[in-house]
Subunit: 331 residues, 2 copies
């Protein structure tokens, strides 16, 4: 098989993040689930935005963040997601293309507007996310470029996007296209609450051998396996997926692949400013190492380097030169 | 006269900044005037945005930035400027109101969209601004709340907004309203190129005694007076305005008022990240000191403290608690 045209094609929410620092007290007063991601409707979006301090807008979306990091590391990337034909849609499309990522899904006319995520960042750097899905939930299966998917080393899917029906159908079709072409399918579980809603689907995908590389954090691992003990959860899940990657915030990350078990500590940083995109950027570093055939521990280290950069500033997209950071560390 | 309802009412462009780091080479290749502000039309906005890297959107506008700092310092502020009825207009209005600033001008329906400023930030922190004025240029004189202007200690005007005809008329009317009520009028010259276009107007306003507090940087001082020598320029202009404030970037700032001459060095900072809003935040600190009756040198120090905070991160709006910074320094 010749080298694929893309290193990775990702399907994910096309979201602009609206982020502002906030006091711990506000998270409580607004009844938000601290550290989680909650889907919100228009009235709630209005209520939360009204309560939010002066904000900044930076393109986000879990899988799109992952691609932004991977593209910066030199990967050939394509993104599939749905924006509306509006200013925030233009912002999202600009930022993804300006990062060198292929993005050809046409904006959707009319309501609803482009998705946005209202992110409240508390002084400890924790982010509490409130997502208005908007146009993102209407990604149709017809938007898939199946030829491109068949020509990508990895198809990467975002668990968040399993909530809305149309994108879920699109992702199932994309998995079939990738597998038919002999490509790998990577999946991120995204959020413990998403697993509460769709755990059965996810467990079935895994049991059917549809997932080659699975990303989770320790809470998602527990939610998926039903096992609160970390080691027990790893032991239960690892045999079911060729590559399992689990992050534990400041305690580092683990990977298990074909009996091999690697772990790395978190990279030291001066100050955690905003953890938005921590998992996304970790996945980026790991996947970049993986598609370039690096040893498992190096893949983890690349993930840790990317995550450390992204959590040291506001916004989930990289600001520093990730390639230089990886090169300085791993050569 | 009882205490005014507002410390300050400002009239300025209602702009969302679209900012991205860029290499020095790109500024040259795109034919931009490094460090300046250029008005651009739709095709040029398209061209520059296409050439720009992944960006972030943060509310801006010179006078609005000044208010954002002053409101954070505890001033009672009102803003007058024109947004369109679109997503970026919503972002601007949210951010200004979330900062505690009174803003009641109704969004303008239809085209053109809300103003945006494409800001290319080079590695030295210098910003090169390209402004698409959009709805901002259609601020009508009817949008003025003259009762509010008469009830504000200071009316603050942005030279940038002298370019478009409707806001210029609105500002002239606002000056008359403020003066009739015995209030002070503060004016920032904004940019040497604006002075090239409107220097005669500015000099006439000054000669007519319409301006009580004038802000300039050294380049604007030279453009307005026609004198390249800094001291000669100060000596020529100072007798014509009750308070003259001139900033010199890393060389600090000068103020002359009624024969008194004060100067302060720039505040030391670890790294200049982005100078967008340096002058705006300096004016904020100075004006806050002025309306609170502080000595001239303390007003300058407050300006320097605010500017140092704003240039230490991306975006022209403050991130740290300016009040705490001023208190730590001046008590």
């Amino acid at each position: 098989m010749p080298d694929p045209r893309f290193d990775i094609i990702a399907i994910g929410n096309a979201i602009v993040d609206v982020m502002a620092p906030c006091a711990d007290e506000l998270v409580e007063r607004l009844g938000m689930t601290r550290g989680g991601m909650t889907l919100i409707d228009t009235p709630r979006a209005r209520e939360l935005y009204d309560a939010m301090g002066p904000a900044r807008e930076i393109s986000g979306g879990s899988a799109a963040n992952t691609l932004a990091c991977m593209a910066q590391l030199g990967a050939k990337c394509g993104f599939i997601g749905q924006v509306a034909d509006d200013q925030l849609g233009e912002v999202f499309a600009h930022d993804i293309r300006a990062g060198g990522i292929d993005f050809t899904v046409a904006p959707r006319a009319g309501d609803p507007p482009t998705a946005r995520c209202l992110i409240f960042v508390t002084p400890d750097g924790q982010r509490t996310m409130n997502t208005f899905l908007g146009a993102s939930q209407f990604l149709p299966a017809e938007a898939l470029d199946e030829a491109a998917i068949a020509d990508a080393a990895v198809l990467y899917l975002e668990g968040y996007l399993w909530d809305p029906e149309e994108p879920r159908r699109a992702m199932r079709r994309a998995i079939a296209a990738a597998r038919a072409a002999g490509r790998k399918v990577a999946f991120t579980l995204s959020d413990a609450f998403v697993i509460a809603r769709h755990g059965d689907d996810f467990r079935a995908l895994i049991a059917d051998g549809q997932i080659d590389i699975l990303f989770a954090n320790e809470h998602e691992l527990a939610a998926l396996t039903g096992l609160d003990d970390f080691d027990a959860g790893m032991a239960a899940l690892a045999p079911k997926v060729p590559v399992l990657v689990v992050t534990r915030s400041e305690q580092g990350a683990h990977a298990m692949a074909g009996g091999e078990h690697a772990r790395v500590p978190a990279e030291p940083i001066a100050r955690v400013v905003d953890t938005t995109g921590a998992g996304d950027s970790f996945a980026a570093g790991f996947l970049m190492g993986h598609v370039r055939g690096r040893p498992l521990a190096e893949c983890l280290t690349m993930g840790a380097i990317c995550a450390a950069e992204v959590i040291s500033h506001y916004g989930a997209r990289p600001e520093a030169d990730l390639g230089a950071l990886v090169k300085a560390r791993l050569g």
